[in-house]
């Protein structure tokens, strides 16, 4: 018993440390992002290399900012400090927005990114912002781990024995794939799989932990299937809304 409470205390201290660290990271980050934005306003007066340096600095702060947010969410998830504003929302419209946001990045890597048209309603009960984050993380992951090939977002509808209907969004890539013995670990926080070829990969290993936590908080489920060298599919499933369609 003492061991468990000791572990809990350590976990609490770790979370407190991350909370403080993210707050302390955000403050200088605010100044850097702020001054870069003020510098960017003088666009016409900048030379081409200066404009390029500015754009690279903005990309770097964007990455730092994202890492900071992910760390914060991780603590907030564990301490149950996140709240979810559940409302009916069309999964397809959120997926469409994410695909539009990622199109340029995918095309830069010569990866066709396709969103298939669902043949059934995709309305679910979820928090719109969190749902967008979930799909964002999955598409981002697909882009990172797919050196060539394509990324497809597809749909399934299922009904269980109680005649409850479910809608599933599949995020399929033709990328590196994951070894079956590593599959159970993909949703573990701070866990990054060993893949030397992960050419576009960076991050703290929090993206999929956040996906799973957010989806489960919204009464959904996420699963993964993968074939090494062939690609990976993440499936996010939610009960249809209203329930007895």
């Amino acid at each position: 018993m003492r061991d468990v409470s000791h572990l809990r205390e350590l976990e609490g201290r770790k979370n407190e440390f991350i909370s403080i660290a993210t707050h302390e990271l955000r403050t200088p980050l605010t100044a850097v992002i702020g001054y870069l934005s003020l510098l960017g306003r003088g666009g016409a007066n900048l030379t081409d290399p200066q404009r390029r340096f500015l754009s690279q600095a903005k990309l770097a702060t964007g990455r730092l900012s994202r890492l900071t947010e992910e760390l914060l969410w991780t603590v907030q998830i564990q301490e149950d400090r996140l709240m979810f504003k559940m409302a009916p929302i069309e999964l397809e419209s959120v997926a469409r927005k994410v695909v539009a946001d990622f199109r340029t990045s995918a095309e830069n890597h010569l990866l066709p990114l396709t969103l298939k048209k669902p043949l059934f309603p995709t309305t679910v009960l979820a928090d719109a912002d969190r749902l967008e984050q979930v799909i964002c993380n999955l598409v981002d992951n697909a882009v990172k781990y797919t050196p060539s090939g394509q990324i497809t977002l597809d749909w399934r509808q299922t009904t269980n024995r109680q005649r409850r209907s479910f809608v599933t969004l599949l995020v399929q890539d033709t990328g590196l794939g994951i070894e079956s013995k590593q599959l159970p670990e993909v949703f573990t926080k701070f866990r990054r799989l060993h893949q030397p070829e992960t050419i576009r990969s960076f991050g703290a290993g929090l993206g999929l932990f956040i996906v799973k936590s957010f989806v489960e908080k919204m009464n959904g489920a996420v699963t993964v299937t993968s074939h090494l060298g062939k690609g990976t599919t993440f499936a996010v499933t939610f009960p249809c809304h209203p329930p007895n369609r």
Binding site: H23, R26, T30, A31, G34, R41, T68, L72, Q76
Partner: protein
């Protein structure tokens, strides 16, 4: 001229916001701790930008006090912090329940965006 009070203790951010807000048609004052903020707010202030982690009194305590005093209860307060999240978390809920009109995370907004939000709230309804 509209009067805006920035309650912020970090010199780096005070400089940043001063620099940008000088372009606006506001009279900007700065309080660097919670107690000073309470002394500086009266009914002639049009808007307060309030940090949460502050020396002396924290932002939640300042907000609670402002909303209890007859002279200051109607002064709009925007919480501007690097604590918590704008989407929906308990810090935001607390700030809104205490009477803040908005909850902004500093690192999510450029000074331009912030000036725009302030101007939107300063416009007569």
């Amino acid at each position: 001229m509209k009067r805006v009070l920035l309650v912020e203790d970090d010199p780096l951010l005070i400089d940043l916001y001063r620099e940008r807000f000088a372009e606006e048609d506001w009279q900007l004052s700065v309080a660097t701790d919670g107690r000073q903020a309470l002394k500086m707010v009266d009914d002639s202030v049009d808007l307060v930008l309030l940090d949460i982690l502050l020396p002396e009194l924290n932002g939640f305590e300042v907000l609670r006090a402002l909303k209890h005093l007859p002279d200051t209860k109607d002064v709009p307060v925007i919480v501007l912090t690097n604590l918590g999240s704008e989407q929906s978390d308990k810090d935001k809920q607390l700030a809104l329940s205490l009477g803040a009109i908005d909850y902004l995370v500093k690192s999510h907004h450029t000074p331009d965006e912030l000036a725009e939000v302030v101007n939107r709230h300063l416009e007569p309804a």
